[in-house]
């Protein structure tokens, strides 16, 4: 089954091979395991980019294939990061606190250790009590489960409410944006239990691996991210290749017709929405230990919109398009905003890319939407001429086909 699937879809195999090649190359060039040609921080950037590609695949599934323009998937991404961040921060603080208390004359009681951890983590927001939501923070297994469960459950509940009442199109986009805004505003509060706008920090330090240098840890995370991206790509490709994928594409193109054919449209949408939220959560859980810090600003609606922009630039409705878009735009964005891009002197004015990158991105994106609605992936299709992937994009159903609500 798997063999035939891969043979029928050579693009998946090509992608996996390229990904493996890329990971191998990055490892050889890294400081931790190879010749040290690329710095550790760049290895981290590459690892983070792989995570962004993974969440872009999730976005492509939900938007490019299912037609739901979700402006909330970066919130699920952030939630995943928060869940793993809680364990990282708690365990690391615990290590520090135990070391500190070892100097005291009496051996510390468990209560004292807990109190000291609370004061250490929550002192910055004026508290010392460990909130209830941190009750499993000392268990890696449970927090790993929460990485999947929390975004999944939130997506399940939200999606059920939204799809049940037949909220579609731009309404749904606005509603997901509202959910994202609500979540980030909630996390911005100091009494949300997640350190308000300080967020969680020091996540790059892995408890139990304190003595291992970041050079090595960064490569581990690169491998893990590549593995997750490969698995996510396989899963997504397998899903959209089968009957499920056909139904989902049908929903995108004409929801009412699929419903009249007897399919439970809401259930399909809910599965796609929840599954992609879970993928986004996993991507976030891999991303933030590499970033080292997570705060509510990461979850703000704008981040989810950027995600949509990446997928749109890369090309919706094709998985490699999402990967190309996310990798290209996020790497370009890093390059331009880090000040490494050369300034352009115009004589009367010097274009500094730190200031002008967003203008370029904004107008560039408009141009892509207007003149290359298939995105960069569309260019790949033109070169390769794959009859399956190059099917016409039927994203504009004639208005007469719609039902009055």
């Amino acid at each position: 089954m798997e063999r035939t699937f891969l043979i029928r879809h050579p693009s998946v195999m090509i992608f996996i091979a390229l990904l493996a090649l890329f990971t191998l190359g990055a490892t050889i060039l890294s400081e931790g395991f190879g010749i040290g040609l690329i710095s550790t921080s760049f290895v981290k950037t590459l690892g983070k980019t792989l995570c962004l590609c993974l969440v872009a695949i999730a976005m492509d599934l939900v938007w490019g294939y299912c037609g739901i323009l979700s402006l909330g998937h970066f919130a699920f991404f952030g939630l995943g990061g928060y869940m793993i961040g809680m364990w990282l921060m708690y365990e690391r603080t615990k290590g520090i606190v135990v070391d500190q208390l070892a100097a005291a004359q009496l051996p510390p009681t468990p209560e004292e250790v807990r109190e000291a951890i609370g004061a250490q983590i929550f002192g910055v927001v004026g508290g010392s009590e460990i909130p209830t939501i941190w009750m499993f923070a000392d268990s890696l297994i449970i927090q790993l489960a929460l990485v999947v469960l929390v975004p999944g459950l939130l997506a399940l509940v939200f999606g059920w409410l939204a799809f049940r009442s037949r909220v579609t199109g731009v309404y749904l986009s606005i509603l997901t944006q509202a959910m994202t805004l609500a979540l980030s505003l909630y996390l911005f509060q100091n009494d949300s239990g997640l350190r308000g706008n300080n967020g969680l920090s020091g996540l790059q330090n892995i408890p139990g691996a304190e003595n291992i240098s970041q050079d090595v840890v960064s490569v581990w995370f690169l491998w893990a991210s590549a593995l997750a991206l490969g698995a996510g790509y396989l899963l997504a490709a397998w899903l959209v290749a089968g009957k499920f994928g056909n139904v989902v594409r049908g929903i995108r193109d004409d929801e009412a017709r699929v419903r009249f054919l007897g399919y439970n449209v809401e259930a399909y949408k809910l599965v796609v929405f929840t599954l992609t939220a879970v993928i986004a959560g996993i991507a976030g859980a891999l991303y933030y230990p590499q970033a080292g810090i997570i705060n509510p600003a990461e979850i703000a609606p704008i981040a989810s919109i950027y995600l949509a922009v990446w997928v749109a630039i890369g090309g919706r409705g094709r998985l490699y398009g999402a990967v190309i878009g996310a990798a290209l735009v996020s790497l370009l964005s890093t390059w331009f905003t880090s000040g490494r891009a050369p300034d352009i002197p115009l004589g009367f004015y010097t274009i500094e890319w730190v200031d002008w990158w967003l203008v370029l991105l904004g107008f560039g994106f408009v141009l892509v939407t207007l003149f290359a609605p298939q995105g960069l992936g569309g260019l790949v299709d033109r070169l390769v001429r794959n009859p399956r992937a190059a099917r016409p994009q039927p994203a504009r159903p004639p208005q007469s086909a719609k039902e009055p609500a």
Binding site: W63, L69, Q105, L106, P107, P108, T109, P110, E111, L161, A162, R164, S165, R166, V167, T168, G169, V170, Y171, S173, I174, L175, Q177, A178, M179, L181, A182, L183, L185, Y186, F188, Q189, D191, P301, I305, A308, V309, A312, D355, W356, W357, L358, V359, L361, G362, F363, F365, V366, T369, L370, P373, A395, R396, P397, P398, Q399, K402, E403, P404, A405
Partner: protein, 685 residues
């Protein structure tokens, strides 16, 4: 008659010689110093011989001052009271003036004879002296010879309190008002009598009412007679002024006390149930503080005692390493206590028993029960009125927020309703309007003129930007609403960054004209700023204007036709293209005007529009698209809802926004198409 003129003549005689020796006095000539000393001794001596009463050369105030010379020179808050009273008791009509000058630090003492004078000009040298009691010129003295009296703030407070009596009966109404204000700011028991005395002969009706009210306020706190106090308290029922509550609330302040049995004479507010009203530990700590029971040993003290008793790595018979649980430490401490090396720790049962033996209760600091009862009843009546006015105030707040949301969202609602596209750059059109206002203000310094100029200019600019956006982008994305959303988002980030590049990241001020400063205040609870009223009026004007355009003009007819069925409208000769363009321009232009209005009370930044965009979307979604009534209802609902949630949780506006968004998500469950759902094809997405 004879004595008066004689005394006056003497005063001249006494004053005349003094300036003469002073210049040499500081010149350190020994001869002149001696000469001066002789004069000093001789002159009063001669005068004393010449005049019959010893102080006849001085007036009554000067007499009082000379009698207490030491205390006047080094006046302190405690000693100055009797002197001030004595000065007032002289009955001299110059007493208030003197007291005022004294507290203003313009009374001088002549070093040579210790007499006190007022001076004409502090900076002159020599100083022209003025007699305290008559106001007549009293010769001159070089500055070096005069010591300034420098009463400290405590003394000045005492003087000010005494002065109030005069101020309250001053012929000048402004000074009487100032005197009342001084009492209002710092009421004191001593004011009561003065105030009562000054009521009857008050000619000004308004001031008289104010005096009477203040008299009742003072009676509440300082009155001697219980019945009078109760009457005064009850007279304030329903008066929502802040000062009334500030006066009544201290009457109900309580103190927690305990006793074996509840005392009969105490004015008990309530008894406290240990364990529910008061924690057992706190109750026990009260007993321990009073020395009734042994002090409790808290965990830190226990651990410190354990550390202090460590010997050979063991304490209380167990090894230190095993003390890593609370119970182990407890046991070790008990073992230590058994040997007598540390005080025993009262067990939880002991503490509960000790607490149970006592009654804990709160008593009012005010001893009279009648007064506290009246105060409570009156405060209750006041509170219920305050609550009612609070709702009114909340309603006004909600209304003003709603008008802002309405202005921000109506343009969005129109474009969404007519064309089915969400314009993510709508917030940036608001920003364009706000920056237009700012730039106009740089060229037109007059705020009123600049606002009048900025409003149409902002409309035009945003209109042009909207038409350009429609022509260049949105027209080509017709029937692809999701792509339109993203493309306009691209425009939005580009415009935002452009604004940042041009105007910088710091906030730019858009100053409201002077006549919009301040607030319309109805009473101590209800007030609304003029800017908000102006925005409300603006929103109202635009509502009426839009209603008129949509329902009473040719354009409105065409817009409604395109909204309902653009193909059918096209076949009837309407150009949907033109209608779309005009509608989009109109919606954007209104956003520009909203920008000027919002900029008036918020700082103008490149993120100004973005911070309103989600609320605008919510307003449109809740209200239902393509219908100005829907937007009105949506804005009203969201504005008042946000204020209501903020009222429940005033400390946390972030939480308020979170809850509001959650509420809206739930609301959409029941009315997915908003309050005013459109019917027909336009209702599709």
């Amino acid at each position: 008659m004879f004595r008066g003129s004689f005394a006056a003549a003497l005063r001249h005689g006494a004053a005349a010689p003094t300036p003469h020796p002073s210049p040499t006095h500081m010149g350190a000539g020994t001869w002149s110093g001696r000469c001066l000393a002789m004069l000093l001794v001789l002159v009063p001596l001669v005068l004393a011989v010449l005049t019959l009463p010893a102080h006849a050369q001085t007036g009554p105030i000067q007499t009082v001052l000379q009698d207490n010379r030491e205390d006047v020179e080094r006046a302190s808050r405690r000693t100055v009271g009797p002197i001030v009273d004595a000065i007032i008791a002289t009955g001299s009509d110059r007493a208030p003036l003197f007291l005022e000058r004294w507290s203003e630090r313009v009374v001088y003492q002549r070093e040579t004879d210790g007499l006190f004078f007022l001076v004409e000009d502090e900076d002159a040298d020599p100083m022209a002296l003025i007699d305290i009691d008559t106001g007549a010129p009293a010769g001159e003295a070089p500055e070096d010879d005069m010591d300034q009296l420098r009463p400290n703030s405590g003394v000045r407070g005492v003087i000010a309190a005494a002065l109030v009596r005069f101020q309250l009966s001053d012929p000048d109404p402004d000074r009487r008002a100032a005197g009342l204000q001084a009492i209002e700011r710092d009421p004191d028991a001593s004011h009561l009598a003065a105030l009562r005395a000054a009521i009857d002969n008050e000619p000004d009706v308004a001031l008289k009412a104010r005096k009477q009210r203040l008299e009742r306020l003072l009676t509440v706190t300082f009155g001697a007679d219980e019945a009078a106090r109760v009457a005064a308290i009850e007279s304030f029922a329903g008066d929502i002024s802040v000062d009334v509550r500030a006066t009544l609330n201290p009457l109900l302040s309580t103190r927690t006390r305990f006793a074996e049995v509840l005392p009969a004479d105490a004015n008990v507010a309530r008894t406290l149930e240990p364990g529910s009203d008061i924690a057992i530990e706190d109750a026990y700590a009260m007993l321990a503080d009073a020395g009734r029971v042994p002090e409790t040993v808290d965990d830190d003290a226990r651990d410190a005692a354990l550390v202090a008793n460590i010997a050979d790595g063991r304490v209380g018979g167990v090894s230190v390493a095993s003390l890593d649980t609370d119970q182990a430490r407890e046991d070790a401490y008990a073992a230590l206590a058994a040997t007598g090396s540390v005080p025993p720790r009262p067990s939880a049962e002991d503490r509960a028993a000790a607490v149970a033996d006592h009654v804990f209760f709160e008593t009012y600091n005010e001893p009279s029960r009648a007064v506290t009862d009246a105060a409570r009843a009156t405060l209750q009546s006041i509170e219920s009125r305050v609550a009612a006015y609070g709702w009114l105030d909340l309603g006004l707040d909600g209304l003003s927020l709603a008008s802002i949301y309405f202005l921000a969202a109506i343009g969005l609602a129109i474009t969404f309703g007519v064309m089915g596209v969400i314009n993510m750059a709508h917030g940036e059109f608001i920003m364009i309007g706000a920056y237009t206002g700012y730039v106009v203000q740089q060229f037109v310094p007059d705020h009123t003129a600049s606002i009048i100029l900025a409003l149409p200019l902002a409309f035009l600019l945003a209109f042009a930007a909207g038409v350009a956006l429609e022509r260049l982008v949105i027209r080509h994305l017709m029937h692809r609403p999701l792509e339109t959303l993203l493309a306009t988002f691209g425009i939005s980030i580009a415009l935002q960054q452009l604004a940042k590049n041009i105007f910088g990241t710091q906030a730019r001020p858009l100053t409201a004209p002077g006549w919009l400063d301040g607030a319309l205040t109805f009473n101590d609870v209800v007030s609304i700023s003029y800017i908000r009223i102006a925005i409300f009026v603006l929103a109202l004007v635009f509502f009426v204007l839009l209603w008129f355009i949509l329902n009473r003009t040719r354009l409105g007819l065409e817009v409604r036709a395109v909204t309902q069925n653009s193909r059918m409208a096209a076949s009837m000769g309407i150009s949907p293209d033109r209608v779309n363009m005009l509608t989009f321009g109109l919606g954007s232009g209104i956003a520009g005007i909203a920008g000027v209005a919002i900029g008036l009370y918020a700082q103008v930044t490149s993120e100004l529009g973005a911070s309103y965009i989600v609320q605008s979307f919510m307003t449109v979604v809740v209200g239902g698209v393509g219908n100005i009534w829907g937007t009105l209802a949506g804005a009203g609902m969201i504005g008042s809802l946000q204020k209501l949630i903020e009222w429940f949780n005033p400390a946390n506006t972030l939480a308020a926004q979170t809850y509001m968004i959650i509420f809206i998500i739930i609301f959409i469950q029941f009315r997915p198409k908003g309050i005013f759902a459109l019917r027909g094809r336009a209702a599709g997405d």
